[in-house]
């Protein structure tokens, strides 16, 4: 019986991990060449930017908020980097800190509007989403290709692990971000404030936690993460374009929710988000191996999966409520 008695907090994350294992196994049985370390590593390589964005989003959703501006922020970062490097001949060493600063500032402004003027997060970040896309088009409506040597060499560098299997520099950045986020979420005061704020804003205020600072910082962090994701995306695409990462909001939110974070805030793990991203990656890989399905199916599949996990959350929450009612 002990085996069945899993801590209820870990239930959503276990479902996610199990789903990933099942999907990977199904792919391995169905398709030749699917079962390999490189296929797994490719999941990370192709989704490094999603992973970074989703980590930032995890914090936002943990506070019970939402950030719809992430996809546009990525596009804006690629566009800004491309124009600064190509047209204004800035050094990449200057461009990257600059775009990260811009992204964080963008997030900070949105967070401040949400906190100090009591505006709903979705409307502020929706406006941010359109603003960032509009700024892309102000720079250029065409795609700008980056042919700077440094960007090229970063994007082509392969870091070999275990023989011929490799990862990219973007994966290393993403993994560092994940490690830092896990540390921040579970071992710092800020992390505890985030969880407390998501549990109940009222109680956090009464307890004297710095609610305002935490909330603003969470959106700043999300802005930073999405602009870092934009930098990684620039390595991946070697271009800046206003239509990059369209619809990434859903992918990101889906990754976080599939990873077991409750949309109502307060419960969830950064590690779960990693699996949420991996599951999306594996859907794409499965569709690619299948070959006959068009890529539009990816979006539809992710939408359905998101729905499934939201329903799971509903069951989970109502059970929790019932059990706490029974205990009382």
């Amino acid at each position: 019986m002990n085996i069945l008695k899993i801590d209820r907090r870990y239930f959503p994350i276990l479902v996610t991990v199990a789903l990933f294992v099942v999907m990977f196994a199904a792919g391995s049985i169905e398709y030749n060449g699917f079962f390999s370390l490189q296929v797994f590593l490719n999941l990370l390589i192709d989704n490094a930017f999603l992973l970074i964005t989703a980590v930032g989003m995890t914090f936002v959703i943990l506070t019970g908020g939402i950030d719809l501006s992430v996809g546009s922020m990525i596009a804006f970062t690629t566009m800004l980097s491309a124009t600064l490097v190509q047209n204004h001949h800035w050094s990449p060493m200057l461009v990257i800190p600059f775009v990260l600063l811009i992204g964080s500032f963008f997030g900070w402004v949105m967070g401040s509007l949400i906190q100090y003027f009591k505006l709903q997060p979705f409307i502020v970040t929706l406006a941010g989403m359109f603003l960032a896309r509009g700024l892309c088009y102000l720079i250029s409506i065409e795609s700008i290709t980056i042919d700077h040597e440094w960007y090229k060499s970063v994007s082509q560098t392969k870091v070999y692990l275990f023989g011929s299997n490799y990862i990219s520099i973007s994966v290393i950045i993403a993994l560092v971000v994940v490690a830092a986020a896990i540390y921040i979420a579970h071992y710092t005061k800020f992390g505890r404030n985030v969880y407390a704020l998501g549990g109940s804003e009222q109680s956090s205020l009464l307890m004297g936690l710095p609610v305002a600072r935490t909330k603003v910082l969470v959106y700043t962090l999300s802005g930073f993460c999405s602009s870092l994701a934009g930098v990684v995306f620039t390595f991946y695409m070697l271009s800046g374009y206003g239509l990059h990462a369209v619809g990434m909001e859903l992918d990101t939110i889906a990754a976080v929710v599939i990873g077991g974070t409750l949309l109502t805030g307060g419960t969830g793990y950064v590690a779960g988000t990693v699996f949420g991203v991996l599951i999306q990656g594996i859907i794409q890989t499965l569709i690619m191996f299948q070959g006959t399905l068009s890529s539009w199916w990816t979006k539809i599949a992710i939408g359905l999966l998101l729905l499934m996990f939201i329903l799971l959350q509903k069951v989970f929450i109502s059970r929790k409520k019932k059990s706490s009612a029974a205990a009382a």
Binding site: I66, L126, A127, F130, L131
Partner: protein, 338 residues
Amino acid sequence: MRNKLFWPLVTLVVLLLANLIHNHEFFKITVQDGHLFGSLIDILNRAAPLVLISIGMTFVIATKGIDLSVGSVVSITGAMACLIISQGDGSSMSVLFSALGISLVLALAAGAWNGLLVSVLGIQPIVATLILMVAGRGVAQLITDGQILTISSKPYSFIGAGYLFGLPFSIYIIAFFFIIAAVLTRKTAVGLFIESVGTNPTASRLAGIRSGLIIFIVYLLCSFLSGIAGLILSSNVSSADGNNAGLWYELDAILAVVIGGNSLNGGRFYLTGTIIGALIIQTLTTSIYSMGVPPEVTLVVKSVVVLIVCLIQSETFGAAFAARRRKKNETAKQGVSV
């Protein structure tokens, strides 16, 4: 209290006057081949899809919800209608009506999906409709097979580009739906139900209003109107583009509703305000084009306007402002007494 329509109307008039200064023939309406032509008619004609979507969005927002999927519904219905017409005889009326019927059923299905997620399953409206906002474009791409479908059908293009008694046909469509919506919500209890659900769904349910059903119907209606907007848009250009049809309409519609004096917190709605809001946005878009500003700027302008309007509506912002004014008055009074 000042009339809610005051500021929206002032904004619209100022925008129109700014256009008049820029182009002295802005208000001129001429008759050509029995049709009325002019910038004002043009704005009304082009505003038709936005007006329809905004009417639906007004009801959704009045229930404290939001529908981010309207743009995707526009692309789905346009794609479906064009697909059916491209496979049949373009000039046949039966093909036309089956195209209209099937695509509107699809729009209703999309609305039912949103309504189900929000009212029965209790998912937050933003997330529930975000699913269709992104996945819906995937569906539209599936229908058109990733291509831009171009059709030639006289009866179909009449919907978006035809004229009736000298006026564009789309103006009659908006008038029709506006009158129905207005009568339904202001002459029957439906409007009251919607406002009551938006104020407090639980209290309304306890008072005997079927909150869930009202919320469901509101999303159904919003999708249906977006579907008609999709038909008008695709018939106007005689083609369907899964990727770009109706792109960014969700922002425009939300903006129209908010500019029209409706609060995002739900509970009250002003249909006339929304219509004026939609006209403001269309006038703004048209002026940006006609004044030679790059059209890309529109997105930036609109998003800044959304933020400003929300800030003005925000209580905290108003309170801070009022406090400052009070302080000023007090210091002025003190100055007098000393």
